[in-house]
């Protein structure tokens, strides 16, 4: 029987990162991926003369060499930064809610952001400045917590990061209310909420502020050749470090040791048994405990049952036969909402019929040469907050897909005034079924477990040690301690990979 120190299941962002961390820690590693290419959602695909980005809107917290974000620092440590060609995103975002007569385009840079906000919402300067002060203290508090491996000294926390601790248990809306931020400024500032997939009554302020601060402070980046470039760079690094990688290979079972219930082996789809005492599963605990393990501790079943699936994904990709200039597409990243009340908006995102929210990207506004001259590429994403797609039958599938795609195009044209419909040369649509099939996530969820109030970033980080209940089994991906998003998934893989190195060393 083949034997490895660790098997990483799934070559998504977290799995790739975990594999490198394990190899850097001296472990013998096998990475298995059921798809034929690495990356999970971090990939690209060709249609005609276009190569579409499958999922990345912009990589947060990367920054530049002289204003490095945490992801760049991580990529430096992994040894992959220079394998990838990076470009900077020009501006942060444009948020439009026609119903509420809101249309604001926000820049990167904290000062520029505050100034622009003051121009849109006179009198917002004080509260928005305080928001960024709070956010910066949170960032520093998190860096301190990470530096002591999560065992933060409560005295140090209260003394040096008191604001962080005092705001740490509240939702976005609760804190912004306490800051007495004018409503319109709240609306503009919270536009990113759909990237985290929970509404602002539920979403932890710490989580949101931390993300927005990193965006605005460091700007955002894009790899020149789509996220496929990142995924191949990480794979190359794994091979350089001597790791084994198998594509088209699904791990179907994790066998446990009857003595301690911990990991004993992994069974692959062709029946091959791989002996190992350590697994980093870059997939949902629901999948691992629902069908990959025969003996599951009751505590894991209860914990999994307590959690709520986050948004199910839907993305439309368009290749247009005119340039962004010709079409009047001015911005890189648009958020188009029905209402700026995120609670009401979240509610409307439950059904196919009512959901018409979109986060839309015109990639040429970040990478002008990403498609042939005289063309441009766009992708439109939304989330469904219930399993409405479960009601769609195969016979109705393509009609439903086209219904949503059509609605997205009309919405974009209506809200921005740009006319794109007659210029569509290529179209491709990914639904919850596509995501369910591609990465195997339950119900086509792309955001892991929802960042609900009680299950947000802070308690997950604080409970990292006790959430680890099966010896030798750790998780990466959006279902893990850092929640959803590219940077979060890289960090989850980083943490789980390094923790597993520790586990291996302790075993001797």
């Amino acid at each position: 029987m083949r034997k490895y120190d660790a098997v990483v299941i799934g070559a998504g962002n977290g799995g790739l990162t975990a594999a490198i961390r394990l190899l850097q820690g001296g472990a013998r590693v096998l990475l298995v991926e059921k798809h034929n290419i690495p990356g999970g959602f971090a990939t690209s695909f060709r249609r005609g003369r276009f190569e579409f980005e499958a999922s990345l809107h912009e990589l947060n917290d990367f920054g530049t060499a002289d204003n490095a974000g945490d992801v760049r620092v991580l990529f430096d440590e992994l040894g992959v930064t220079d394998k990838i060609e990076w470009l900077q995103i020009p501006e942060a975002y444009r948020v439009i809610s026609q119903a509420e007569k809101l249309d604001a385009t926000m820049p990167f840079g904290v000062k520029a952001f505050i100034d622009k906000m003051e121009s849109y919402v006179p009198g917002s300067r004080k509260s928005v400045t305080e928001f960024f002060e709070l956010a910066e203290e949170i960032r520093l508090g998190q860096a301190y917590t990470a530096s002591v491996n999560g065992n933060a000294d409560p005295k140090v926390m209260v003394r040096d990061y008191g604001n962080f601790v005092r705001c740490g248990s509240y939702s976005v809306n609760e804190v912004l209310k306490a800051l007495k931020m004018p409503k319109k400024a709240v609306d503009i500032l919270t536009a990113y909420w759909c990237y985290l997939g929970a509404h602002c009554d539920d979403l932890s302020f710490v989580h949101y502020a931390s993300m927005v601060n990193r965006y605005i402070l460091r700007g955002a980046s894009m790899p020149k050749s789509r996220s496929h470039e990142i995924s191949l760079a990480l794979t190359e690094r794994i091979l350089e470090l001597g790791g084994d990688v198998l594509f088209n290979t699904e791990a179907v079972k994790i066998l446990t040791d009857p003595k301690d219930g911990g990991v004993r082996a992994v069974v692959l789809d062709d029946g091959t048994e791989i002996e190992t005492r350590h697994v980093v599963a870059n997939c949902s605990p629901h999948v691992v405990f629902g069908r990959m393990m025969d003996k599951v501790p009751e505590s894991e079943v209860r914990a999994s049952n307590s959690r709520k699936f986050a948004g199910r994904g839907f993305t439309m990709f368009l290749g247009l036969n005119k340039s962004a200039d010709e079409l009047g597409i001015e911005n890189h990243n648009y958020f188009l909402y029905d209402t700026m009340d995120s609670v009401a908006q979240y509610d409307r995102m439950r059904t196919i019929k009512d959901n018409s929210v979109q986060a839309t990207v015109c990639l040429n506004r970040a990478l002008p040469d990403c498609s042939p001259e005289g063309t441009c590429m766009m992708y439109f994403t939304t989330l469904y907050m219930s399993d409405d797609w479960a009601k769609v039958t195969p016979e109705n599938y393509y009609k439903t897909k086209n219904y949503v795609a059509d609605k997205m195009i009309s919405r974009f044209e209506h809200d921005t005034g740009a006319k794109i419909r007659d210029s569509i040369e290529e179209i491709s649509v990914a639904t919850p079924m596509t995501y369910a099939r591609y990465c195997g996530h339950p119900q086509g969820v792309i955001y892991g477990y929802e960042s609900q109030y009680w299950d947000g970033l802070m308690p997950r980080l604080q409970m990292m040690a006790e959430d680890h209940r099966v010896r030798g089994l750790r998780f990466g991906s959006a279902y893990a301690m850092r929640l959803s998003g590219y940077s979060s998934a890289y960090f989850a893989g980083d943490i789980s990979g390094r923790q597993t190195v520790g586990d291996i060393k302790r075993e001797g």
């Binding site: 005092r166 248990s169 393509y398």
Partner: protein, 383 residues
Amino acid sequence: MAFVFKKQIFGFMDLLRFKKMVPKRRKIMAEAPATPLPATYKVNETAKILHPGYQSATLIEVRLETADMKTYVFETEKPFYFRAGQYATLGCNAGGSEVSRPYAFSSSPREALAKKAAFTVKKAGFFSEWLFDNAKPGDKFVIGDPSGDFCYEPIKDAKQIVAIAGGSGITPFYSMAQALADGTDDYSLTLFYGAKTAADLAFRSRLDALAAQMPGKFKVVYVTEKEEEGCEHGFVNLALVKKYVDGDFTVMMCGPSAMYAFQDKELVPLGLPLKRVKKEANCVGVRDAAPAAYDLTVHIGFDTFKVKADAGETLLVAMERAGLKVPSKCRAGGCGFCHSRLVAGKFSIAGADKRRLADGKFGYIHPCCTYPDSDMEIVVPKA
């Protein structure tokens, strides 16, 4: 001094609240039900019908359509669904080699939900000849995932489709006509079906019946080389298209490469944008190259194989010839299903490079459209 955040009257109450977060989450998790977690989910089950992956299929009927075309009807292991116009690979062990080829479905999507699927294949190569001479009801095959974008796309296509079929290129359009008839799709289709003689036209009586069943929605124009009853003669050309169709339309063509080259020239006066013309890709064949035999080292999973590769044939063919089970789907370089890593060696790509940008940078190739120019070593995912 920087401002002090406070939500409640006394800051310590905010601190207490923070402290309670962990006990609260611990309690919620411990008190959740112990109901076993589901093994699967509805959306994932529907996805399995839309994307069944490889499945076994039993040949249940063989019909002779013309002197050199047969329809093979299969009962599949699972119900599945596809878009009319799509293809799937059909494979089996043919005389000792693991072989599979992509063929367009000639049956309707609706029948696939009842586990029935058909391919109509012209005798024109190693596998199709083997099928023609050997396949009989009861034989077992493997059918791959429905694939491709050679379909009516309501968001971008005109409401009117002009279909140009050359020879066995009729199959996707026959499926599309059936999907129109049963209400699966809704647009109007004018089919120009070219063949050498009227005897070479497959499905003629059924196409006529479909046209009679949906006047105004489906029209079929047969085009043969010489004058024959009920057929136009000569080539499908612009004058002929204009005789039957006006207004805005999308052209879909399926046939040999020579037909595409001819139609490209014919259509020039219309000034159609790229989005108005779709061509079904043809499999990459042999190339003209000085004869040479190279050593090809192939890593699949934990195994390594050494096989011979002919300079004129693709790496995929070399591997299949040697009996290796390797992934293949479109066999035209575009779908990326055979995505493999190059370790060493020189190569040429047939036609346009359809790989992703980063693939070139990090050394990945599509063996189905890659010819060896030296000894080579590659890492191929298992099939």
